[in-house]
Amino acid sequence: MKTIAIATNTFREAIRDRILYLILVFAILMIGSSRLLSLLTVGSEEKIVKDIGLASISLFGVATAIFVGVGLVFKEIEKRTVYTLVAKPIRRSQFILGKYLGLVLVLAVNVAVMTCFFYALLLAKGWMDFAITRAIVLIFVELMLVTAIAILFSAFSTPILSSLFTVTFYLIGHLSWGLLLLAEKLADGPGPAICRALYRILPNLDALNVKGMVVQGVEVPMTQVFYASLYGVSCTTIVLGLAVLVFRKRDFL
């Protein structure tokens, strides 16, 4: 109940912030402009529209997760609102979880609004394919993980550093498959073992990316969506656990 109260307040904070609407308007404009961009290409208009639509939902979702997420905890400490909050009968873990759930709720609303516009565009063109929903579900799972990472960094670092760390994490997460390729190229020494170990430690965000398959019309089985979601939720749980551990012993100076 107390976690929900903090989540609701975080959600309220975000929806009363105009920046969020700006991001949403940009995303919708981007989805809308995919129709214009597709006119510049020959023959693959449907794919271009779907590609840009999904990329917009993902990109603007990640932008919201990072730029709102890194400020969530930091702002509470910087503005000293955390002083009276933590002095109330709540656990610090409830505070972190509440902040996290509040932002995830914001992202859910954002993704839902962007998806509605995207579907309306597809329906109007007669290109509607509900398999796209599977890609959007995995985009949302990825946003949940990125939000957790942003909150983890925000629990001990400044927003600028936290943004840098989270963007780096996001890029590494999408390029970690490159480590396996590198391991194959490196024939001798400890190189291949290090690359494989790093590959196992670093989250593989590409496991949550089926946008290309959906756009190309390749079927994404429900089992893949399920296991990818399970993977994403497990990583999120571990990262949130770390954030709670860091925050539990933090001094509010």
Binding site: M1, K2, A5, R80, T84, V86, K88
Partner: protein, 309 residues
């Protein structure tokens, strides 16, 4: 013997700089006990560690050593915080909420029902004189209004122990008087109040006991009635007439405080000198305006104690 409301033993805290290259020991073995129903004022210079002590009591920062017990329990317990109220120094709250929304939100953190939240929010808003501005966003609040809403959230749960960090800062004289009345009302209802303040006249008016934080410890502590001498320490004499240096008796103990037009205000340290000065004023054709006896104030005690360092 009843259990102390707050008990601190051997508290220590060192702030470390970047990479622990520099460090500053702020609290060096602080001991303190608060009995139920008393108003205790923690005094000290800027940077003496008053806020650090308060933050450690509330588990906002963690001590390096020492024990803090509140109502006989370890201070880290979450449940006991439902018996605490806290107003930080220069409070800042969620500016996108209205005063009422803010208090209802905090009511949720105590697990109150909707009706209970509404009732308590209304009552505390009334108590701090903010009922008419309850539905205004906090971003539009002045510093004094934020201080009042801060006091409201500290009293929302009708706490048994109220901890206030510089509660009078940012308040106008009427606000200070109202806050003083709130604290005295808490005392009348048997609540325990622990507060830090720079404003010594307020501390003197409301505290049962004070402690002066000095070099990271409570240097001097006790009941004001025990600490302050009831004897008259000096007199302040105001007269109209010639300049003080023209009529000051030889070997006079005291000195000129101020001159306003024809009036001079003089501090007199002994009763004999008071009589000599009165004679001199009359002899030079001056007229007596007032004589006031001065007893030791908390400010005198504080200055003496801090200067003794």
């Amino acid at each position: 013997m009843p259990e102390p409301v707050l008990e601190i033993e051997g508290l220590r805290k060192t702030y470390k700089g970047h990479l622990s290259l520099t460090s500053r020991e702020v609290i060096r073995g602080l001991d303190l006990k608060l009995e139920a129903g008393e108003v205790f004022g923690l005094l000290g210079q800027n940077g003496a560690g008053k806020t650090t002590t308060i933050k450690m009591i509330l588990a906002l920062i963690f001590p390096d050593a020492g024990k803090i017990r509140i109502f006989g329990q370890d201070h880290l317990g979450v449940k006991l915080r439902s018996k605490l109220g806290f107003l930080p120094e220069n409070p800042w709250f969620y500016e996108y909420l209205t005063g009422r929304e803010f208090l209802k939100f905090y009511g949720q953190l105590f697990g109150y029902s909707r009706e209970e939240r509404n009732r308590r929010a209304g009552e505390t808003l009334e108590k701090v004189g903010m009922s008419t501005r309850a539905d205004m966003p906090l971003r539009k609040y002045s510093k004094g209004m934020l201080q009042r809403i801060g006091m409201a959230q500290a009293l929302l749960n009708d706490p048994e122990l109220v901890i206030l960090d510089e509660p009078m800062s940012g308040l106008d004289p009427i606000g200070r008087r109202e806050f003083r009345d709130i604290i005295l009302d808490l005392k009348a209802r048997g609540r325990t109040v622990f507060f830090s303040s720079h404003i010594l006249s307020d501390a003197e008016a409301i505290c049962d006991r004070v402690g002066i934080l000095k070099e990271g410890r409570i240097g001097l502590s006790g009941r004001l009635s025990d600490l302050l001498s009831p004897a008259v320490g000096s007199w302040e004499l105001t007269y109209a007439g010639p300049a003080f240096d023209k009529l000051a008796p030889a070997g006079f103990q005291g000195g000129l405080i101020s001159v306003r037009g024809p009036e001079s205000l003089v501090r007199v340290d002994t009763e004999a000198d008071l009589a000599r000065l009165l004679d001199a004023v009359r002899a030079h054709g001056g007229s007596l305006i007032s004589v006031a006896a001065r007893r030791e104030t908390l400010e005198d005690l504080y200055v003496r104690e801090v200067a003794a360092r």
